[in-house]
C-alpha cells in the first residue's frame, strides 16, 4: 500500500512543481520580504521638512524656535544612541557620555554635554573605535526639520502679499523651497498672532512645539512687564522637573519581549496558513483534472481510493514542507548576508522555539495541520467536476478557516490571550494555528499535549469520513454534491 501512496504522492509533488504559479508563489514571499524594507525606506519620508522662519518682530523668537527644534532632534538622537548602547552593552565606550546614562529624561545640560563632545559624529566615532565585531553600526536618523534662511524679499512683503508669495513657493515645489513658513509679525509680542503657512497639513507635534516655545516667550515677557527680573522670569519658565525614566532594556520589556518571542511562532502559524491555502488549491486543481479528464477509473483499477487519497495528502504535505524549507533557507541566507543584523533580531525570537520538545511539537502540529486541512481540499476535489464548481465550496471553507485565524493572530500580536484564543486551541480545525501562534506567549504543557491528542483523534475520525466521501464521490461524476448527498456519502460504507 505504501508504495502506491508514495507513487501518487511523487506524481502530485512533481505536477505541482511543474506549475509556474508554484515557483512564482514560492519566490514572491522572500522577494517581498527583501524588497519590503527597500520600499519602506524609499516610500518613507526620510528627508527633513524644510522650515523657514520670518521674524519681523526684532525679537529672538525665531532663534528660540530653531534652538528648540534642534534640541528635540538631539534628544531623540541621544535616546536612540542610549538604546543602541544598552542593546549591545557599549556603555564602557564613553562612560561619562549622556547616551550611556539610561535612566533619565535628557535635559538641556545633557544635550549641551553631548554637543560639546562632538554630537552624533563624535558618538559614532567612539562607537566605531570600540564596538566588538558583529555589532552593527549606529545609523543616525536625519532630524524631522531643517531650517532655511528666510529670504529678504519675503520679509519685505505685507501680510497679504506674504501669503501669496508663500503659496507660490509651495506650488513651485522646488527642492530648496521651504515646506513650512512661520511669520512672526512686526508687532509681536504686543500682537501675538503668528502666521503659519504649510505646503501640507503640518504635524501636530510641530504646531505644539511652536506654540510651547512662543507661549514661554510671551509669558517671560509678561512676567518681566510685571516687575519680575529677566533672569527670574527665565528661571520660572525654565523650571522643569528632573524626570527619571526607567524602561526595560531593548527586547526586555514585557510587551516588546512578547512580541519578539512571538515573531517566529506567529510566522510559523502564518506560513502554515499560506502554504496550506496554496498547496491545497494546487492539489484541488489536480483532483479536478483527474475527474474532468476521466482518468479516475484507470487509477482505481490499479490502486485503492484510500491510497489515492493518502498519496494526494502526502504530496501536498511534501509541497508545503518544500515551500517552508525554501523560505527558511532564504531567511537563513538573509541572516548570513546581513552579518548579524537580522540574526541579532532572530536570536531572541528563536528562543521560544529552540528546545527539542518544542521543535517536535512544531513539526507535529504543522504536519497534523497540513493533513487535517488538506483532507478538506481533497474532499472538495473528489466531489466537483470543475474548478468553478470547486470555488463555490472553497470560499466558505476558506472563510471558516481563515477568519478566526486572523482574529487569533491579531489577539496574540496585541498580547491578549482570552477565551477566544483558548477556544480556538481546542477546536481541531484551528488547533494547529492556535498552538503554533501561542508558542511565543507560552502555552501550558497539558494544553499542548491535550490539544495534540484531540487533534490526532479528530484527524483519525476525519480520515474515516472523508475516506468514505472520497470513495463514494470518485465515480459519481455529474452529480451535484447536495448537502444531503454529502451526508449520505459520509455514511457510505465501501460498496
Amino acid at each position: 500500500m505504501m508504495g502506491n501512496v508514495l507513487l501518487v504522492a511523487k506524481r502530485e509533488f512533481r505536477q505541482i512543481l511543474a506549475l509556474k504559479s508554484f515557483w512564482l508563489t514560492l519566490l514572491i514571499l522572500p522577494a517581498a520580504l527583501a524588497l519590503g524594507p527597500i520600499f519602506t525606506r524609499t516610500l518613507g519620508s526620510a528627508e527633513a521638512t524644510r522650515v523657514a522662519l520670518v521674524d519681523l518682530s526684532g525679537t529672538d523668537a525665531a532663534a528660540e524656535i530653531e534652538a528648540r527644534f534642534n534640541e528635540d532632534a538631539d534628544r531623540e538622537t541621544l535616546r536612540r544612541l542610549s538604546r543602541h548602547s544598552q542593546r549591545y552593552d557599549l556603555d564602557g565606550v564613553a562612560p561619562g557620555a549622556p547616551w550611556t546614562q539610561h535612566d533619565r529624561w535628557y535635559t538641556a545640560e545633557d544635550i549641551d554635554a553631548f554637543r560639546r563632545a562632538g554630537g552624533v559624529e563624535g558618538a559614532v566615532e567612539k562607537l566605531q573605535s570600540a564596538s566588538p565585531e558583529g555589532v552593527p553600526e549606529f545609523e543616525p536618523e536625519s532630524p524631522d526639520y531643517t531650517f532655511l534662511a528666510a529670504g529678504d524679499e519675503l520679509a519685505a512683503l505685507d501680510r497679504e502679499e506674504f501669503s501669496n508669495a508663500a503659496q507660490a513657493l509651495f506650488e513651485a515645489d522646488s527642492a530648496d523651497a521651504p515646506e513650512i513658513i512661520v511669520r512672526i509679525g512686526e508687532n509681536y509680542p504686543a500682537d501675538p498672532r503668528i502666521d503659519l503657512y504649510s505646503a501640507n497639513q503640518p504635524r501636530p507635534s510641530f504646531v505644539a512645539t511652536l506654540q510651547e516655545v512662543l507661549t514661554g516667550d510671551l509669558r517671560t515677557r509678561l512676567l518681566a512687564q510685571r516687575g519680575v527680573s529677566g533672569a527670574d522670569a527665565a528661571a520660572i519658565q525654565g523650571a522643569v522637573p528632573a524626570i527619571s525614566v526607567t524602561t526595560p532594556p531593548p527586547g526586555g520589556g514585557a510587551r516588546e519581549a512578547l512580541l519578539v518571542r512571538s515573531i517566529v511562532p506567529l510566522a510559523l502559524s502564518y506560513i502554515l496558513m499560506m502554504s496550506l491555502m496554496l498547496s491545497g488549491s494546487w492539489m484541488l486543481q489536480g483532483s479536478v483534472e483527474e475527474r474532468s479528464n476521466k482518468l479516475l477509473e484507470s487509477l482505481l483499477a490499479c490502486i485503492r481510493p484510500e491510497e489515492l487519497m493518502y498519496g494526494k495528502l502526502l504530496g501536498s504535505l511534501a509541497v508545503g514542507l518544500l515551500m517552508i524549507a525554501v523560505w527558511a533557507a532564504c531567511a537563513a541566507a538573509a541572516a548570513f548576508a546581513t552579518q548579524g543584523t537580522i540574526s541579532d533580531m532572530i536570536r531572541p525570537a528563536l528562543e521560544p522555539v529552540s528546545s527539542p520538545g518544542i521543535i517536535i511539537a512544531i513539526l507535529y502540529f504543522f504536519i497534523a495541520g497540513y493533513i487535517g486541512i488538506s483532507a478538506i481540499f481533497v474532499a472538495i476535489g473528489a466531489m466537483v467536476d470543475s474548478m468553478s464548481e470547486a470555488q463555490g465550496y472553497l470560499m466558505p471553507v476558506l472563510l471558516a478557516i481563515l477568519l478566526p485565524i486572523t482574529f487569533l493572530l491579531q489577539a496574540i500580536l496585541a498580547g491578549k490571550g482570552g477565551v477566544m484564543v483558548d477556544l480556538l486551541t481546542w477546536i481541531p480545525l484551528w488547533t494547529p494555528f492556535a498552538v503554533l501562534a501561542r508558542l511565543g506567549m507560552g502555552i501550558e504543557t497539558w494544553v499542548l499535549i491535550g490539544s495534540g491528542i484531540l487533534l490526532a483523534i479528530a484527524i483519525a475520525v476525519e480520515m474515516v469520513f472523508i475516506g468514505r466521501l472520497f470513495r463514494a464521490s470518485l465515480l459519481s461524476t455529474g452529480q451535484k454534491p447536495t448537502f444531503r448527498r454529502v451526508l449520505e456519502r459520509f455514511r457510505a460504507r465501501p460498496r
Binding site: 507513487l7 506524481r11 483534472e289 476521466k294 477509473e297 484507470s298 483499477a301
Partner: protein
C-alpha cells in the same frame, strides 16, 4: 483453470437492480465479448471484477482469488471514459501506470517504448498528452493497460472514438494478447468487431444474462430462414415453422420463404427433402448475423452494425 469466474453476481444501487444473477467464466487465451445495450450492467460488472465497487451478492474469482488491487499486476483495464494527465509525457504516463501495477521503472519504460513503437508513437514518447491528438492519447491509454502484459485484459467499449486504422490496430492487440494466453473481455456496441474477434459471447439485458456461448450457438437461438424453390408444397415438411409463397409459380415451381422451428438445423430439412425425393431448384440459407441475434435477444437500442 479459468482466469475469471463470476457466479450468481448481483448488484443493487438502491432500488435499481444493475446486475441480476450473472454467471460466466473466461478461460486463458479466450476472447470474450460482453454485449448489451446501454445500462445493461456491463461496466458495473467490470468495475466489480476490478474491485472498484463491491457486489451485493454472488462471487467473483480473478486468477483463483477474490478481486483485490494486489492482482492489478495481472490485470489490464481500458475504461470506457478515457483520459490521462495532460501535463505528463506519453512515456511517463505509461511508466506511472506500470509502477502502480507493481512494475519496476526500467521494465515499464522498456515495455512502454515497445508499445509506443508498435503504435507508431515512438517519436512522441516525450510529448505531453495535452499536446497530442485524441487518437494518439487513446493509444497511449491502451499502452497503459497493456504495459504489464496482463493475464486478464478488460476493455470497456475499446473501439469507441477510434478511426478505422486504429480500430484495426486495437483488434491486432486483442489478438496478440489472446495468443499470448491472456483472457480478453471486451464490451462493445459494434457487432462487427465482436463477430470477428470473439470466441464466446455474453449478451446482457437489464443486468441479466440472455445468452452465453459461441457465435454459432448464438445463431442457433434464432430460427433459420431459407429461400426455397420447389415443385412440392414445403409447408408440410418436418421442422418447418412457416412457409410463405413468394410470387406466382412458374411452370409449377414456387418460391417459398421458409422459417424453421427454433433449434431445427437447415441441413436436417435438406436431408429430409433429399431422401424423400422432393425436388429443389434453390436452397439458400440466410444465416442470422450477430446484429440480428442482438436485436432479437437484447433489443435494438444502442447497437451498431
Amino acid at each position: 483453470m479459468s482466469v475469471l469466474e463470476v457466479s450468481n453476481l448481483v448488484k443493487r444501487f438502491g432500488d435499481v437492480l444493475a446486475v441480476n444473477d450473472l454467471s460466466f467464466e473466461v478461460a486463458p487465451g479466450e476472447i470474450f465479448g460482453f454485449l448489451g445495450g446501454n445500462g445493461a450492467g456491463k461496466t458495473t460488472t467490470l468495475r466489480m471484477v476490478l474491485d472498484i465497487i463491491r457486489p451485493t451478492s454472488g462471487s467473483i474469482s480473478v486468477l483463483g482469488a477474490a478481486p483485490d488491487r494486489r492482482q492489478s499486476s495481472a490485470i489490464g483495464f481500458l475504461p470506457e471514459e478515457r483520459g490521462l494527465y495532460a501535463a505528463m509525457s506519453a512515456i511517463d504516463t505509461i511508466i506511472y501506470f506500470g509502477r502502480l501495477k507493481g512494475m519496476d521503472t526500467a521494465t515499464a519504460r522498456a515495455r512502454g517504448m515497445q508499445l509506443l513503437e508498435r503504435f507508431d508513437l515512438a517519436d512522441r514518447a516525450k510529448s505531453e498528452i495535452g499536446d497530442m491528438s485524441k487518437g494518439m492519447a487513446q493509444k497511449v491509454q491502451l499502452a497503459t493497460s497493456l504495459v504489464n502484459q496482463p493475464e486478464l485484459l478488460m476493455l470497456d467499449e475499446p473501439f469507441s472514438g477510434l478511426d478505422p486504422v486504429n480500430q484495426g490496430l486495437l483488434e491486432n492487440e486483442i489478438l496478440r494478447a489472446s495468443q499470448r494466453g491472456a483472457a480478453v473481455i471486451f464490451s462493445t456496441h459494434v457487432m462487427q468487431h465482436a463477430e470477428r474477434l470473439c470466441d464466446r459471447l455474453l449478451l446482457l439485458r437489464k443486468g441479466r444474462k440472455r445468452f452465453e456461448g459461441t457465435l454459432e450457438e448464438a445463431r442457433a437461438q434464432l430460427p433459420a430462414h431459407i429461400a426455397v424453390v420447389s415443385n412440392h408444397k414445403v409447408t408440410a415438411l418436418p421442422g418447418v415453422h412457416s412457409a410463405d409463397p413468394v410470387g406466382a409459380p412458374v411452370d409449377g415451381w414456387q418460391e417459398w420463404q421458409v422459417e424453421l422451428d427454433p433449434g431445427v438445423q437447415p441441413e436436417s430439412v435438406l436431408e429430409h427433402c433429399s431422401t424423400s425425393g422432393i425436388a429443389l431448384r434453390r436452397w439458400n440459407e440466410h444465416r442470422a448475423s450477430l446484429h440480428d441475434i442482438f436485436v432479437e435477444l437484447v433489443g435494438g437500442e444502442g447497437v451498431e452494425e
